[in-house]
């Protein structure tokens, strides 16, 4: 094995320096090896130094960081001590880098082909003509649409999922010895993520190049890695083969990570609440609601987003709203909060109609329905103290001032498990998870009946996110607040919600109690979502790719249609002549479970059984990636 060794990181140390010139170590002596044809995963949460370590293999640090010790040897030669010109040749030549956000990493003013071939030509590895030829081969290998001509386009003319794959082509074009992939699928929807993962895995295998895969997502790691390095705070906690780390973790931190990883959503996961808050009265209801942007013409929004929505939030319940980006999840919450008046339909609070616009709502109505924004970073005014941020609703709705307010602020901080001393801090001094807690605390301070939470855990690390979910569950049990919990992550929703609403292209395609929704019969879209969630099992990706529904329109963009079933063009079971023209009826099942589909219950159950059987032999159907990230 020793002679296969490609890259060796030896006792790597990287530090930052603060204003006083004090050294702040970021990476504290990390060592690992990479062998030919091997994928090494660096896994850890933000602040673990994983990106910093991966960049060190290119002899590069982010501005403000400095190498303070150790070596990074490529073929036994330390790259950190190379002269600058040698390092330049290394970058993009021997070692290629793939960044997290392709959309930001592609230069908007240069055509794709020039960017893809640039490094290979500059480092003299290929002539321009050879590089062009190789690029087109790679586009084909990565299953990009219109592969022969996509290179002539500008980055803004292709979709996000495509750009991510084009970046892989950019990295591979110069035939590097080592590829560094920095969270390349984190920003993608689950359904797109699978497609991209599959493409990456295929080319890495075909090119027989080694790779470093940086991620915080264990389930993704399980699909791609041969060797796993678990990092915390710039140190290696544990490393070993993928099999050993996934199936037999030793270090307590790894076990924590595994525990916080989202399990596969299955029936029986839903939290069963049976306490005094769990009443069957509707707390908030949305009836026949249609909404969109661009003004209203003849009772229809110019740009329709949501159509004919009927949902109800029972007292003390958690309703999870799930769907890909572009399905209208956030719009739903915004309509409920009154930020976007609906074009048609009603919103009811305690059986009383609410005005469409929050400007027309009464103060006590506003107080009862609180909206929690996704990004705590932008939702907290950087110039206000935490105490004032949480204190304002107390003062505004409940007239508390002085000592009373102060005491209540401490009490609320305690509810979100933060020390009372935080009241005199500014948001900038808090970590991401702490900020999100303050964000929740502000809404709690209003003493609401319903909290509308828009992707509140999406930007958080897995352990931190899991803790926030735990906190929310506790709050619901303690206070009896109802939640509308919006997320693109089915496993998070499944672990927390009493009911699930599946939105697709602005319509409710399925809703009901969590256990019912996660059990067959499924709406075809729900099935697609469930089967797209990566399992923490080695070999899952290969298995999944063979399932029939995964092959159908998997990465197709969400299109809002004015007639028929919106999922028609992605649905493996679509009935031609019916689905694209008629709006499907609602199939009523037991316990309020509803599926909106033209197929009968029996057909849905039947196809479910079939899909389970079909594991081999299908033709790839459907058009390629139409997914669009425009705007």
């Amino acid at each position: 094995m020793e002679k296969d060794k490609l890259f060796e990181v030896k006792d790597l140390r990287i530090s930052a320096y603060n204003d006083e010139g004090e050294e702040i170590p970021i990476v504290k002596g990390v060592s690992f090896d990479i062998h030919k044809g091997e994928v090494v995963a660096l896994i850890g949460e933000s602040g673990s130094g994983k990106t910093t370590i991966s960049l060190a293999t290119l002899a590069y640090t982010k501005p403000g960081l400095h190498f303070t010790g150790g070596e990074c040897q490529l073929f036994g030669k330390d790259v950190l001590s190379m002269p600058p010109l040698g390092q330049r040749d290394l970058r993009g030549g021997n070692v290629a880098y793939l960044a997290q956000s392709a959309a930001a990493t592609f230069n908007p003013a240069i055509t794709i082909n020039e960017q893809v071939t640039e490094a290979a030509v500059l480092h003299g590895r290929l002539t321009q003509a050879e590089a062009n030829k190789r690029a087109i081969e790679l586009y084909h290998a990565l299953e990009l649409p219109d592969a022969d001509r996509i290179g002539y386009r500008y980055p803004h003319q292709v979709s996000g999922g495509q750009l991510q794959r084009l970046m892989a082509a950019m990295a591979l074009c110069s035939k590097p010895d080592l590829m560094v992939l920095d969270e390349p699928t984190t920003a993608l929807d689950v359904t797109t993520q699978i497609e991209v993962l599959k493409a990456f895995k295929k080319v890495i295998r075909e090119q027989n190049s080694a790779a470093i895969y940086v991620t915080h997502d264990l389930a993704v790691v399980a699909q791609v890695a041969d060797h796993i390095v678990v990092l915390y705070s710039g140190e290696v906690m544990e490393q070993g083969s993928a099999d050993q780390i996934i199936n037999n973790p030793q270090h307590a931190y790894t076990k924590r990570l595994m525990a916080a990883a989202r399990p596969k959503p299955t029936a029986g996961m839903g939290v069963q609440v049976g306490d005094e808050h769990h009443r069957e009265a509707d707390n908030m209801r949305v009836e026949d609601m249609t909404a969109g942007y661009g003004g209203i013409v003849d009772g229809e929004p110019v740009v329709p987003i949501l159509r004919d929505i009927n949902i109800s939030v029972k007292n003390g319940h958690v309703v999870g709203v799930i769907g890909e980006s572009g399905c209208g999840k956030s719009t739903l919450a915004r309509v409920m909060a009154g930020m976007l008046p609906p074009a048609r339909g009603d919103i009811l609070l305690d059986d009383k109609k609410l005005k469409g616009s929050l400007l027309d709502r009464r103060l006590d109505e506003l107080q009862k329905v609180q909206f929690v924004f996704q990004m705590a970073d932008t939702a907290l005014n950087p110039k206000q103290l935490i105490g004032n941020i949480i204190g304002r609703p107390l003062e505004f709705y409940h007239g508390l001032t002085g000592k009373e307010k102060h005491a209540k602020v401490s009490e609320i901080l305690d509810m979100v498990e933060l020390p009372p001393a935080f009241a005199s801090r500014y948001p900038m001094e808090l970590s991401g998870g702490q900020k999100q807690r303050v964000n929740l605390a502000r809404s709690l301070a209003a003493n609401p009946e319903v909290m509308l939470c828009d992707e509140v855990t999406s930007a958080l690390d897995s352990i931190v996110g899991a803790n926030v979910i735990k906190l929310l569950t506790g709050l619901r049990d303690k206070t009896g607040v109802s939640f509308v919990f919006i997320s693109h992550d089915l496993s998070t929703v499944a672990s927390f919600a009493d009911e699930i609403v599946v939105l697709y292209a602005g319509r409710v395609v399925e809703q009901g109690p969590t256990d019912e929704v996660l059990e067959p019969p499924f709406h075809p879209y729900t099935r697609l979502l469930i089967s797209s969630v990566p399992e923490m099992r080695i070999g899952w990706l290969e298995d999944t790719m063979q399932k029939r529904e995964m092959a159908v329109g998997i990465a197709r963009g969400v299109e809002i249609t004015r007639q028929g079933c919106p999922f028609y063009n992605r649905c493996p079971l679509a009935i031609e002549g019916t689905c694209e023209v008629k709006i499907p009826a609602i199939l009523e099942l037991e316990k309020g479970h509803q599926i909106s589909c033209h197929l009968s219950l029996e057909q849905l159950l039947e196809t479910e059984a079939e899909t389970q059987k079909i594991l081999h032999g299908f033709e790839k159907v459907g058009d390629e990636d139409q997914f669009s990230t425009a705007h």
Binding site: L55, L58, Y60, Q87, R88, D89, L90, R91, G92, G93, A96, Y97, A99, S101, A104, T105, F106, N107, P108, A109, I110, E118, A119, L122, H123, Y154, H156, Q157, M170, A630
Partner: protein, 316 residues
């Protein structure tokens, strides 16, 4: 999409020109109150005042005066100067060429210098030479144009005796004499305009330099020169075109000062004389020419940045 935006900008430009004409007219014909009084001065008798008012059409309502003024202006009739009674078109005709020549020469010299120096400074941030450029240009844009002109005279004319301290022109100079006469105002304006352009070019490039795609270029091992020229410049070109146009427009005010200081027979000098003698028709005409040029240059900048944006040039 792009064409529509360009037309839109042109439309806005036209509207702005019209608003400018209103402002100029209101400021010079309505604000001062009785223009006849101003022209005739304190010694005027009520009879001569009335006659003057009738002659100037002041007995008519403001909007009628405005439209007849605008109509005359568009047909090239700029009116008659109060001083000496010469037609304003002839006064301006004799001067406008000089100012145009000066502005044109300044542009030809300063644009290449500025872009080159700006790019060079951006390419070597933090080096001593970069700091000198940054500090030097900052100082130059902080001081009035007349300060630069004064120092230039002190050094080049008084101490070194290389150049004359004024730029008198009779119209029959030899080429060499012409160059010598023009050198001083040219140097001053080039310094003033370039300082601003160098700073903005450097800032524009460095602004783009913090983008993730620049880091990607570094991680691809792209050499420094190519990063700046191919990756950064093409994204900063919109703002840079804007800066160039704005600074050429800025020449307008620079020209006013420099023509005065060096007694250069240009349009701006004519206008200052007009302001000093309160020759309102002359001021109106000159202001319209300067403002019109300014609006057109800004329009060109706008269109330039639209055309240079690939998102607008080749839509999805």
């Amino acid at each position: 999409m792009m064409l529509r935006m360009v037309w839109q900008r042109m439309g806005i430009g036209l509207v702005t020109l019209w608003v400018v004409s209103v402002i100029v007219f209101v400021a010079t014909s309505i604000l001062p109150g009785d223009v006849a009084q101003i022209i005739l001065g304190q010694a005027a008798t009520p009879e001569t005042l009335a006659a003057m008012r009738a002659e100037l059409g002041l007995d008519q309502p403001g909007y009628i005066r405005y439209f007849s003024w605008l109509g005359n202006m568009m047909t090239g009739d700029l009116g008659t100067s109060k001083a000496g009674g010469a037609t304003i078109s002839s006064l301006i005709g004799g001067r406008i060429g000089n100012t145009m020549m000066m502005a044109g020469l300044v542009a030809i010299i300063s644009i290449p210098i500025s872009i080159a120096l700006g790019l060079w400074a951006a390419m070597h941030p933090g080096t001593i030479l970069d700091r000198i450029v940054t500090f030097g240009t900052l100082s130059l844009i902080s001081v009035p144009e007349f300060f630069i002109a004064t120092v230039a005279v002190l050094i080049l004319a008084v101490h070194l005796h290389w150049l004359p301290s004024t730029a008198y022109m009779t119209g029959d100079e030899t080429f060499g004499q012409l160059i010598k006469a023009l050198a001083m105002p040219l140097i001053t304006l080039v310094i003033v305009v370039s300082a601003q352009m160098i700073r903005m070019t450097r800032a524009g490039i460095l602004n783009v330099m913090s983008s993730p795609y620049i880091e990607m270029a570094i991680l691809k091992g792209v050499p420094r020169g190519r990063i700046i020229l191919r990756h950064a410049f093409f994204n900063a070109i919109g703002p840079i075109i804007n800066v160039i146009a704005l600074n050429l427009a800025y020449l307008v005010s620079g020209v006013v000062i420099v023509e005065t200081i060096f007694a250069y027979p240009g349009l701006a000098k004519l206008m200052i004389d007009g302001v000093q003698t309160r020759d309102l028709p002359l001021v109106q005409a000159c202001a319209m020419i300067f403002c019109g040029t300014y609006v057109v240059l800004i329009l060109i900048a706008d269109v330039g940045s639209i055309v240079s944006n690939p998102r607008l040039r080749s839509p999805k």
